[in-house]
Symmetry: C2
Subunit: 263 residues, 2 copies
Amino acid sequence: MTYCVGLLLDQGLVMASDSRTNAGVDYISSYSKLHVFQPAPDRLFVIMAAGSLATTREVLDRIRRDLDQAVNPRPSFYQQSPGATLLNVNYLFEAATYLGQVSVAVQNEHGPALRQSGVSGEATFILGGQIAGQPPGLFLIYSQGNAIAATPETPYLQIGESKYGKPALDHIATIGLSLDDGARLCLVSLIGTARSNLSVGPPFEVAVCARDLFSPSYRLKLDANSPELETITQQWRESLRQAFRTLPRFGWELGETQAAPPL
Amino acid sequence: MTYCVGLLLDQGLVMASDSRTNAGVDYISSYSKLHVFQPAPDRLFVIMAAGSLATTREVLDRIRRDLDQAVNPRPSFYQQSPGATLLNVNYLFEAATYLGQVSVAVQNEHGPALRQSGVSGEATFILGGQIAGQPPGLFLIYSQGNAIAATPETPYLQIGESKYGKPALDHIATIGLSLDDGARLCLVSLIGTARSNLSVGPPFEVAVCARDLFSPSYRLKLDANSPELETITQQWRESLRQAFRTLPRFGWELGETQAAPPL
């Protein structure tokens, strides 16, 4: 499984992912799911991927080939006629459309063989980034190629094993968070998910992309054994327990009520 | 959907459930999912149910009929030959077996018609309780009728929409929690789930069952508008945000590191 979360904040973007990949419980390995593309100084794209590793790998390779061929065209047996690339899209939503089209093309190519094996080649992506002259944006691209975008009301998007990490986001995420707090929140969401689901695990990767910088301001890769990850995990857990201990008492604990009446 | 959680603690049991039932998003209603059975002074059973409302309703009605017929036998066109009841089981695990058998019988009876409509009649249950002379116990009964039990290492069991509320349990639940803290923890888990999934909602019901009492010590039913629920929700959210604000800073915030090296 996988868990990736992106935050669209006033100050820019935070993208975060786990790195665990599994085919069953007995083939677990580690792959980065967070990919940064800076094809020109006026644009930055960060792509996170969940789903079939073969699909997401090929989608990323095709995106890189499209970029390479745009700069350095050579005859290619496999490449289809040249079209959109991350270099020539004019709007971030066009990059999301392009990513969706590449994803659907890869899924269609392998679909018949996969269906015969009863396997799904589906994949979902989060695309965050900015093109100069436009605000940053964050998109979730479904396996069917269509996409939704983060908004001020819902500043986060998730793919993969998203449920365990959602309450923390719902309680804390607002568009006004600082980028640093956004990075902490993504880690908290990842930590909770990894604790509840073995198929999500470190290394955790985080990319912090300040608005108008067109390059990640900070990148983190926290291994399972990293002292930083251990510190934040321990402290979050202790703070949660402390928060829990300060919750109001029930009436019966205060002697205000006898046993509650039968319902 | 539904969310029910049970805790098996040193001091006894806490059982908690939401009350929202939905068939699609346009038919939402409220049903209690927490049912207390005290068929004799030496035994207490609390049953929570998730899944097909028709199945869970009929399972509970059959359990009540079996109890009634054991005390007050009358010819019954529908009832099968008399067998186990909550009155004559000698061990709590036998009550779980009995509940599983009733559930499978109901599902089998309606299964062919449901399958023709492409509908599932599956249901899962949590059974908590105690029979005199034995410790309290907590079981999760799958729709296939088999069951697992809570243990000191994993003192909670969940049915229904269980993922959103699991991290809070994983961070805080231990068998040594007091019953009152257990009730608070179940509410926290319910509150987080209801916030993240519209199909889970109040009234929230909680039954606290102290060891060797054979009757719930306290029962709560918190409506959406109840001041108690509002207070605990607000305070949990504020405490979470406070906990979040006290997390350690990243190296770059402390001026210790420059931008992290590229990965």
